[in-house]
């Protein structure tokens, strides 16, 4: 361990579990699909063809076609793009906002912290989906960007709380005292010592949260508050197909399974990263 860099060690821990390897493969696969769909599929995800509506799976359409005659597999692959976009971007947004709030409330402590903590408490008490529902009506554009905002904002409190705790802990650590003894300025203390040390637990939650966000997006879609047609999204496809479960089982099950696989991938990856970078974090989230 001594002569092994932390990074390679972490990687080693990460990949020592078969499940994690599987999860990483899943995520990578989905990312590749999202990036390369236009090359992968000969079909246009938006071109409707009413004559080939709801075809059963065949060699031409591996998973059949949807109501408007679009290739289900192609739309699933475009849905990957949507889901990943929403998942990744919203988590990005919320973590940045959350980190900023957490840093402020943790570093300045006192009244700032008390006020912000109570607000975060209050927001955390409102079930996520309600918050998201209200927000999604507010931004009712039905666009991907809108959903990113909605889901991003609704998870900000989680990060804020986590980071506040983290900052409060690190702020009082010996090495931060050491910085003070050295007479280093506040700005430098925050940016180059406090922040980097708070990031790793955030990273863990972040990965897992991508999964949860994708799930939340599908729930919203199911409630009719998701991305507008004709953009392909898994949640949208579930809600558009679930009544056809009996007659078109493949069409109805496929988007659900995709959601599960991707979320599963991110969850396991999150767990894996947590184990790899900080075993002490186990079970705290």
């Amino acid at each position: 361990m001594k002569h092994q860099s932390r990074f390679t060690y972490s990687l080693k821990v990460l990949f020592s579990r078969k499940l994690v390897v599987f999860a990483v493969c899943l995520v990578v696969l989905f990312v590749l699909i999202a990036v390369f769909i236009p090359v992968l599929s000969p079909y246009d995800p938006y071109k409707t063809d009413m004559t080939s509506s709801l075809l059963k799976p065949s060699s031409e359409h591996w998973l059949g076609t949807d109501k408007l005659g679009r290739d289900v597999l192609t739309r699933l692959m475009y849905g990957t793009r949507t889901s990943l976009c929403i998942g990744v971007l919203s988590v990005f947004l919320s973590s940045i906002l959350g980190v900023a709030i957490g840093l402020i409330s943790g570093f300045y402590g006192g009244i700032v912290n008390t006020v912000l903590s109570r607000i975060v408490d209050a927001l955390l008490a409102i079930p996520n989906i309600m918050f998201a529902m209200a927000l999604s009506i507010m931004f009712s554009s039905g666009s991907i960007l809108g959903l990113v905002l909605v889901l991003g904002i609704s998870t900000v409190p989680t990060y804020a709380r986590l980071l506040t705790a983290q900052v409060l802990q690190i702020k009082n650590s010996d090495f931060m005292t050491a910085e003070k003894v050295l007479g280093i300025s506040n700005k430098k203390k925050i940016m180059s010592h406090l922040l980097p040390n708070c990031i790793s637990p955030i990273l863990v939650v972040l990965t897992a949260n991508i999964g949860f966000t994708i799930l939340a997006e599908s729930s919203l879609n199911f409630l009719g508050l998701g991305v507008s047609a004709p953009v392909a999204s898994w949640g949208g496809m579930v809600s558009e197909a679930y009544t056809l479960l009996l007659s078109r089982p493949v069409y109805a099950m496929a988007p659900g399974i995709c959601i599960m696989l991707l979320v599963f991938g991110f969850n396991i990856l999150g767990d894996g990263i947590r184990d790899a970078i900080d075993p002490r974090l186990r079970g705290t989230l």
Binding site: K67, G142, G224, L244
Partner: protein, 529 residues
């Protein structure tokens, strides 16, 4: 003769026979009932699955929604019913006479009927109901000067000016009868939770958002009816649950399912029941926001949109998948009715023409627009299809899902104009004067900030409502239709759809959706085993 003349004579001459016919029918039915009782099973409780939440029930004087109106028919009856051909037929009254010259409508009431609370159904009750209707702010009876009670079972309505809709308004629209005594004793609000009518079933219980229960009325005025012991409406908002509940037999009837559910049930071997309708279906159409500064404010751009979309293909597609009877039409109402204009073209599918229109409008390369649509039905598919057609002529439409509040706001008096169109459904009225005035008159309440209030349209509407002969009305209505759709291209009708039901095949004479979606004649329905 006044402008209601044609109907007037026809209905009054038919009155007697009609009444006897009804009675005879009832007799026949009761006989049939007896035979049925021996061989097969009737009675029992009919469970009907319903997807919409019900908000109002018995306070008839506020506007009721489609399902609400239908449910209320279980326990309350109208003075007249519609026959299958769409003519007004006496039911709680025995006959009526219209007199446009003397500005009167005389109504003869059926005798010996009691409300469920035991009070008598008489002239006083009828007048109270009418007055209540007006008091609640409804405009239909605004032309009435006063009501004259001749005796217990005869009322004369005196008008201040002639309206050719007065019979429909008094006998059907405002002609639904609830117990005045009950209302006086408990307040009209009580009626909202506990409707008291004269119908074959008595209201029993209403668990909001869950179920509405009716029990058979032992003292129904038609001897031997009803057959069923009770009727229960079960509210199931989710489609999957509806399908499942129907398939497992938890409900006997599924009302108004969309094409997905129809398709699934059809594939599971059920046949939808739907009647081809002359009147009373739902009309599905796109409304343009014509007052917008953007492309939508330009009539040629709207024409381009209309021509670019293959409406026939879309409707065919919907028709194939749906369980309902669907009729492609280019007008607001159905195709084969008196108000329909056979000359109306309605911009048939023609991408070339669309491109021409685009050029004429000054957008040779197309433009951006929004299509708003609501949640439910086949709206999303239709709009997606429309969008992909528009894309082909270079019009880039963005779909946006909105909910009913936003729809109401956009269509309401404060609605802001937007660059696009909105997909919406409304009752397919035969008589255009009932809806056009709400929309195209400058003091209307619907789409007022979206449609153009062109002078010629306003004038045609006024002429159509006040004319005294039916021929005139027919002419003005047809002209109106063409002006609105062909000349100004304010809306793009797609189709008219009937309402469908699925049953397990053991429900006989159910009377649901026989006339239209808001009329139900439940008294002679029964279940076989």
């Amino acid at each position: 003769a006044g402008c209601g003349g044609t109907k007037d004579t026809a209905s009054s001459s038919a009155d007697e026979s009609r009444v006897t016919e009804t009675a005879a029918n009832a007799g026949e039915n009761s006989q049939a009932a007896e035979t049925n009782a021996e061989n097969s099973n009737y009675g029992g409780t009919l469970k009907i699955g319903l997807q919409n939440a019900i908000v109002h029930l018995g306070y008839v004087h506020t506007g009721l929604g489609t399902s609400e109106a239908m449910i209320l028919d279980t326990c309350c009856e109208h003075l007249c019913r519609y026959a299958e051909d769409g003519t007004l037929t006496p039911w709680l009254c025995t006959a009526y006479e219209e007199d446009p010259d003397n500005l009167t409508l005389t109504v003869h009431l059926r005798e010996g009927i009691k409300f469920h609370d035991g009070s008598d159904f008489n002239a006083e009750a009828v007048v109270w109901n009418w007055q209540e209707w007006t008091n609640a702010g409804n405009i239909e009876l605004n032309c009435v000067d006063n009501y004259e009670i001749i005796d217990d079972h005869t009322v004369v309505v005196h008008l201040s000016e002639w309206s050719n809709n007065i019979a429909t308004s008094c006998l059907y629209t405002a002609g639904i009868m609830v117990s005045a005594e009950y209302a006086k004793a408990n307040g009209t609000d009580a009626l909202d939770k506990n409707p008291v009518g004269t119908g074959a079933f008595k209201f029993e219980e209403w668990v909001v958002d869950e179920k509405i229960v009716f029990k058979a009325n032992e003292d129904y005025w038609i001897e031997g009816l009803p057959y069923l012991d009770g009727i229960e409406f079960a509210i199931i908002p989710d489609e999957a649950a509806q399908i499942s509940a129907f398939q497992t037999g938890e409900i006997d009837v599924l009302l108004n399912c969309n094409s997905d559910a129809s398709r699934t049930l059809k594939e599971a071997g059920f046949t939808p029941e739907a009647k081809s309708l002359i009147s009373g279906g739902m009309s599905f159409m796109f409304w343009f926001s014509c007052q917008d500064d953007g492309p939508m404010g330009n009539v040629d751009a709207r024409r381009a949109v209309c021509s670019a979309i293959d409406k026939d293909a879309i409707v065919n597609y919907i028709k194939e998948n749906s369980g309902a009877v669907i009729e492609r039409t280019a007008q607001w109402g159905p195709n084969d009715v008196w108000s329909a204009n056979p000359d109306l073209k309605g911009y048939p599918y023609d991408p070339e023409a669309a491109r021409e229109y685009l050029k004429a409008a000054g957008y040779p390369d197309g433009f951006d627009m929004i299509i708003y649509y609501g949640n439910g039905g086949d709206d999303e598919e239709i709009c997606s299809l429309a969008q992909s057609y528009l894309a082909e002529v270079g019009i880039n439409a963005k779909l946006e899902l909105i909910d009913s509040t936003i729809t109401n706001e956009l269509s309401g008096i404060n609605g802001e104009s937007f660059n696009g169109m909105i997909f919406s459904a409304g009752r397919a009225e035969v008589d255009l004067t009932t809806y056009y005035n709400r929309t195209f008159l400058p003091d209307g309440v619907r789409w007022v900030n979206q449609v153009t209030h062109e002078e010629d349209i306003v004038e045609l509407i006024n002429l159509a409502t006040t004319c005294k002969t039916f021929e005139e009305k027919e002419k003005y209505c047809q002209e109106l239709s063409k002006t609105v759709i062909d000349d100004y291209c304010e809306l793009m009708p797609l189709y008219i759809s009937s309402d469908t039901i699925f049953t397990h095949g053991n429900l006989v004479d159910h009377g649901i959706y026989q006339i239209n979606a808001i009329i139900w004649t439940p008294e002679s329905a029964y279940l076989t085993r």
